[in-house]
């Protein structure tokens, strides 16, 4: 009796296994390459996505396919609705268990930050991971178009891309009216003082917006001494950091102790939202427009 039961049990479980395996083979029908040139097996129909970085969450919302999102990382705070989605750890320290429990049939990762080992383990567990690697504004637009194709939101993606391109062009046209390049110190860290070098989005935005990035150089996030900053004589200081306004007032007061600093003389020290400058999303163009206005207010006087 017992033996029989065991036998049927084994047969049953074999059957269940087979049933489970067949659709698994079927699902991974399409093979594509992601931005890192890695082959990935894409499910036929993407039903559920876990986004592994705040910027990716933003793009998914911008594409209007947020219904697919079942999980996001910590600090996915834009748009506000994203904050209420289940969290899977921070983007540099992902919580594998939570990701897998959400049963996504696709994860979207970014090369900048997501640890490779986690990505590899997700793939071992048969969760395809599409990795993006936006390096500058143009590749951000490409990324948006690619994700649009991937998630069947081509139209929205085309619209977003066209919108971004035309706004960038407009800024380029306005800035081309002047030869002056405003000397800008872009402060993203307060203690120690940290700025953004050439291999960053911030550098590209500064140059497009008609500024001279005083932290230009091979290091992505170089550290500065106060002495060094003062000797560079910035005309404008922009402080982002994740600082609250009280912290900002304190930092501003410290810079104000050097009245000969051009930025102090002209009262051009500003606090801005860091998310507009360091997240590879459509909002980066908002950051560009803002920056252009801060660096060349005279050119924008007539334009409303």
């Amino acid at each position: 009796m017992n033996m029989k039961l065991k036998k049927t049990n084994i047969i049953l479980s074999c059957f269940v296994l087979l049933v489970l395996l067949v659709p698994l083979n079927d699902i991974s029908a399409m093979e594509i390459k992601d931005q890192l040139n890695r082959k990935i097996h894409l499910p036929k129909q993407i039903k559920t996505i876990v986004s592994l970085a705040p910027s990716i969450t933003e793009i998914i919302y911008a594409l209007g396919v947020e219904d697919l999102l079942v999980g996001v990382t910590q600090y996915s705070d834009y748009p506000a609705a994203a904050s209420s989605l289940p969290k899977v750890g921070s983007y540099v320290h992902l919580d594998l268990e939570r990701i897998i429990a959400l049963k996504p049939n696709l994860c979207i990762a970014t090369r900048d930050g997501n640890p490779l080992t986690t990505i590899e383990r997700l793939e071992i567990m048969k969760i395809p991971v599409y990795a993006v690697d936006p390096r500058n504004l143009e590749t951000i637009i490409q990324t948006i178009l690619e994700l649009g194709r991937l998630l069947k939101a081509e139209k929205k993606a085309d619209f977003l891309a066209a919108n971004m391109r035309s706004r960038i062009l407009k800024i380029k046209n306005i800035i081309s009216c002047t030869q002056h390049r405003t000397r800008l110190f872009f402060q993203i860290g307060i203690s120690p003082i940290v700025s953004a070098g050439s291999p960053t989005f911030i550098n590209e935005l500064i140059e497009l917006a008609g500024g001279e990035n005083l932290a230009k150089g091979p290091a992505a996030y170089p550290r500065f001494s106060k002495e060094k900053v003062i000797s560079l004589a910035p005309e404008v200081i922009i402080i982002t950091s994740m600082a609250r306004s009280t912290v900002f007032e304190k930092v501003k007061a410290e810079w104000n102790r050097w009245p000969d600093l051009p930025a102090v003389k002209q009262q051009r020290i500003y606090l801005e939202d860091s998310n507009l400058f360091d997240r590879p999303t459509p909002r980066l163009v908002d950051g560009l427009e803002l920056l252009a206005k801060l660096l060349h207010p005279e050119l924008f006087e007539n334009i409303k």
Binding site: S13, L17, K87, D95, L96, E97, R98, P115, T117
Partner: protein, 336 residues
């Protein structure tokens, strides 16, 4: 004397069995709890029945929690054993790989390896081994002077070696903008989340032979505690045994450090607790430390990944929170 010797195999067996049951129990807890919730019933079902349902739970348990529990057990066993060996050789109840700075030396080697872009095995592990051997040598040179065998001066030199190591680590971190060091703060406080089954197995391949060798020398460690003269009189080649034990221990410690960073005080908590319960015989203590240390670490890791609401904390935070007060207590008691 003779009677207790007769009972020895039995005693080892009983102690091991009890600790094995404790380890199994805590491991079971470790498999049942995670950041997605606690479910004992489902775990029992998954372990004992071949039932496959729609849920992802089996995958989570076998591929995420199990490697982690195994890694924690291995690391805990290694560090406890490391503490036990150092305490016997240096005849100092407060010796421990982390406190002596040997873990720190291994960490320096590992970080240099990571910065050079070497693979975890053998590159990073070998450099970690070299680092731990270098600090060990430093401590031994200091210890060769008789006065150092006094508790306080040995500990002081350990503190200094440790301070130096953390300065070098901070120096290396400050000099680089390397994105591979993103998780370094976590790693410095002991991070077990990297575990996958293959790596855990390859680590086990290194560690388990070391456990066996140390068990082989457990009786010699008893003799060492009586004093080197005594041991020599019993016909033990002291220098050779000490050399082998130290090399094996620093190999074990450095390979765990290169996998999961600095976990402090584990080598203090378990050996002391077990010595109080089981007495000073190393033939019993060695297997007990392996199993008990494993259980302790699995428990600490369990707390580390379930206590925080969001994400997790480094397991070294928990081991230090438990271990450091104990260390202070032991220091106070031994100075009386």
């Amino acid at each position: 004397m003779k009677k207790s010797k007769l009972n020895l195999p039995k005693r080892i067996l009983v102690v091991s069995l009890i600790l094995l049951i404790i380890l199994a129990g805590i491991s079971f807890l470790g498999l049942a709890c995670g950041s997605t919730g606690i479910d004992f019933l489902a775990l029992i079902k998954i372990i004992f029945k071949s039932e496959i349902n729609e849920s992802m739970l089996p995958a989570i348990i076998w591929q995420i929690r199990l490697p982690r529990v195994l890694l924690a057990a291995l690391v805990g066993a290694t560090l406890s054993l490391g503490g036990l060996v150092f305490q016997a050789i240096l005849r100092n109840p407060l010796a421990e790989p982390y406190i002596l700075g040997i873990s720190g030396g291994a960490a320096i080697g590992a970080i240099i390896g990571i910065l050079l872009g070497l693979s975890r095995f053998p590159g990073v592990s070998l450099l970690a081994f070299a680092g731990s051997m270098a600090t060990l040598l430093l401590i031994l040179v200091m210890a060769s002077d008789k006065t150092i065998l006094k508790k306080d001066s040995l500990l002081l030199s350990g503190v200094m070696v440790n301070a130096f190591c953390s300065a070098v680590i901070m120096f290396l971190i400050s000099m680089t903008q390397d994105s591979r060091l993103h998780n370094i703060i976590f790693w410095l406080m002991g991070d077990l989340s990297v575990a996958d089954l293959d790596q855990t197995f390859s680590l086990a391949m290194v560690l388990i032979p070391c456990f066996i060798i140390i068990f082989y020398y457990s009786n010699v460690m008893n003799l060492l505690l009586m004093g080197q003269e005594q041991a020599r009189a019993m016909g033990v080649n002291i220098k050779l045994v000490i050399f082998i034990l130290l090399v094996i221990t620093s190999l074990m410690v450095s390979s765990t450090v290169s996998y999961c960073g600095l976990l402090g005080f584990v080598g203090l908590v378990m050996p002391h607790l077990l010595r109080i319960i089981l007495g000073p015989d190393h033939r019993v203590l060695v297997p007990a430390c392996i199993l008990g240390g494993g259980a302790f670490m699995v428990f600490c890791d369990l707390l580390a990944r379930t206590l925080p609401e969001q994400g997790e904390m480094p397991a070294g935070v928990i081991t230090a929170l438990i271990g450091a007060p104990l260390f202070i207590y032991l220091l106070k008691r031994s100075s009386r």
